[in-house]
Symmetry: C2
Subunit: 402 residues, 2 copies
Amino acid sequence: MRPFTKTIPFADALAMVMRTAKPVARQERVPIAEAGGRVAAADVRAAADVPPFARAAMDGYAVIAADTTGASSDSPRTLVCVGRVFAGQNATGSIGPGCCIEIATGAPMPPGADAVLIVEETSRDGDTIVVRGAVAAGQNIGRQGTDIAAGATVVRRDDVLTPGRIGALAAAGLTHVDVFARPSVAVVSTGDELVAPGRPLAAGQIYEVNRYTIAAVVTRHGATARALASSADDLDRLGASLDAVLTDDVIVFSGGSSVGDRDLVRTLLDERGTMLFHGIAVRPGKPTAFATVNGTPVFGMPGNPTSCLSNAYMLLVPFVRALAHLPPWRPTQVTLPLARRIASVADRHQFYTVKIENGRAQPAFKGSGDITSMADADGYIEIPIGTDALEEGTSVVVTCFE
Amino acid sequence: MRPFTKTIPFADALAMVMRTAKPVARQERVPIAEAGGRVAAADVRAAADVPPFARAAMDGYAVIAADTTGASSDSPRTLVCVGRVFAGQNATGSIGPGCCIEIATGAPMPPGADAVLIVEETSRDGDTIVVRGAVAAGQNIGRQGTDIAAGATVVRRDDVLTPGRIGALAAAGLTHVDVFARPSVAVVSTGDELVAPGRPLAAGQIYEVNRYTIAAVVTRHGATARALASSADDLDRLGASLDAVLTDDVIVFSGGSSVGDRDLVRTLLDERGTMLFHGIAVRPGKPTAFATVNGTPVFGMPGNPTSCLSNAYMLLVPFVRALAHLPPWRPTQVTLPLARRIASVADRHQFYTVKIENGRAQPAFKGSGDITSMADADGYIEIPIGTDALEEGTSVVVTCFE
C-alpha cells in the first residue's frame, strides 16, 4: 500500500481543476424550440426591424393626437370613426382631422394617425366616438423597430438561452441558433466487486452506483454523460478503457484512486499522464486524484458512492459548467439552526449532509460508503478545517441539492 | 369592444389558479439513468440489505480489535499478516489472535476479524505488520445493511429524483423506477398577424413568439409542451383548436384575451367554459383570462410577448410544477440598489424587468409588446400596488430568470 503523504486544501484542488477547464469550442445548430438552456455560440443580429411597422400598442382608436387636446370626462369631444383595422390586416385607409379608425392591439397604424386613444376613455354611438381623455403624439404606439432594430444584437455569444431570449430569436424570424456543443463526460466505474443493477450478486459483490450518480449530476449541468461498462481492477484493461475515452472532453474514473495495491487508477494516471493532485483535505472525498492525459482532464474519484458524489458536486459541477460556457451554479441556500451537535474531523474541510426537518438542519451523514448519506439529505453544510464540533442550535447555511 | 369592468389582485389570481391544479396521476416506468429530476410515483423499498455483507470501510488490515489495545507510535505491537482480500473477492480465510489480513476498502470482512486498522497506522516488514494505533471493535467496518436495510424505503412517493436518490436506487439493484408522467401543456397562439419564423412576412404580419417562450418555460419546469400551429382569429377555428387539445392537462392560448371585438379566446371561453377570472391588476399581463372547459384548465394569455411570458413565469410555472408534483420553484434572488428611478403605475402590481450591471439593478422594461423587455433582462423586481415610484438607490430584490 502507498499511504497518502500529503493532501492539498480543497480550495487549492478546486482552483487547479478550474485552471484546467477549457470551454468547448465545438458548435451545433439547433431549432429554437430545442434551444432552451443552451448557450449561444455567436452573436446573432436581427436582419430587419421588429416590429416591421408602427402598430397599436393598445385596443382603441387611431387618432390625430391634436384632436384630443383638452378632452376629459367633464369636457368630452367627438370624432367620426371612418373604419377599423385588426391585427394582421394592412392599413389601407388614412385619416384626416376629426376622424379616427378603430384599431386593435398589434394592428398597423393607419397613415395620418399619430396616437392611439384607449377604448376605456371612449364611448360610442354609431360612428360617433365620444372622447373622454387626451393622448399625446406617439402615445400607445409601438414604433417600427422599437423592440429590435435591424442590425441590433438579439443574443450575444455566451448568453444562456432563457425563454425570453428564445422569444427574441423567434421575433427576429430565426428558426435555428448556433450553440456550443455540450461537453461530453466519459464515466468509467472501476472495481471487481461491481455489478450492474438488475443482475444477481455473487458473494463479495455490490451494485454499481457511481456511473448513475455522476451521469445524473453532469447531465443536470449542461453536459452529456457517456457511461462505459465498469472496468476491472486490471491495469491493461483500465488502460484500454482510458484509450477508448480520450476523445471525450473530460474523463471520470471512480474507484481505484486510493492507497491500496489495487488502486490502479492512481497507477494508470501516474504512468500515462501528469498528476496534478492526489489527496484532498476534505471529507468525504479525500482519495481523489486529478490528472491530464494527452491534454484530457481526468478525475479519479473515490469508489465510495457518497465520496464520489460529493466531489462530483464540489469539483465536477463547476468544471463542466465552465466547459459548457454556463455561469457558476447558484444553488438555493437557507440559513437554519442545527438540530443536533456534529463532532467534526478538525484536519479536513467537511461537506456534511443534512436534512431539513421542522425548520432545522438535521445531520444526515452516515458514512462515505453509504449513498443514503446523500439520498436522504436535502443539502449540505460546510465545516471548515480546524472546527472540532458544531453545537446544537448553531446557525448553519444549508446548500440545497437539486 | 368590451372594456375591462374590473380586475382582480394578482395574489387572488394566483390562488385561483393554484386551487385548480390537480397533480397528474399518470405514471410511467423509466430507466434510472433517465430518471434525473423526475418525481417518484410510489414508495420504493429495498429487496435486500445494502451492503449485502460486512465490508472494510478503509484500506488497511482486518484485525481482532483486542489485539491492538494500547498500541501507539511509542508502544507499537506486531501482528502476522496471513493473507489479503480485495473488493469483489469472497472472504475465505479466517483469522485468530495475533493475526491479520490485508484488506481493501469494500472487501468483505474475513471471519474472526472485528475491525479494520487503517494502513496509515501501520508499517510492514514481510508478513510482520507493525501496529502503531489501536482500533475499537466495529471500527472502519461497514456492517451489512447499514446503508439500506432490506425492506427499508429507498425513495418515497413525491420525492424528486436527485443524483443521490438515483444512486440509492442503483445501490438497491433497481434498473427502473415508476415516476409521474410529465404534465402535457398544449400551446395555441392565436392571431391573424402571426407567421412562423423562417417564412416571409406580408404587410401587417409579425413572427410568432409566444409558442416558443411558453414551451421553453414549461419544459424547464417538468412539463412537456405541444405547440399547435397558430390559430386564426375565427371562432369556429378556435373552437376546433380547443377540441383538439382538451385531453391535455392544461391549455394555454395566447392572444385574443383582451377587450377587442376580435379577442375571440375570451368569447370562446365564455361560451364553452367557466370563466374563473378575466383581467388581473398586474403589469405586464392585465388582459389574462383563466377558465375551465370540461374540467380542463385553460389560460388565455395576452398576445403581447412580454405580457405573455411574464404571466407564464408568475402563474403557469407554479401551476405546472404543482401538476408535475414538483416543489415550488426557488429562483435565485439578489438584493441590489436600483440604478435609476422607476415611475410606476400605482393601480397595478408590477413585475418590472431589470438587468444586473455593475452590482446595480438597471431597469430593462421597455413595453409589453417588446420581447426584449425580457430577453435583455436578468430578472425582475416586484413593485406593489400603490407605489408611485421607486427612487434611484432603493434596495430591491431581483428574482433571476433561468
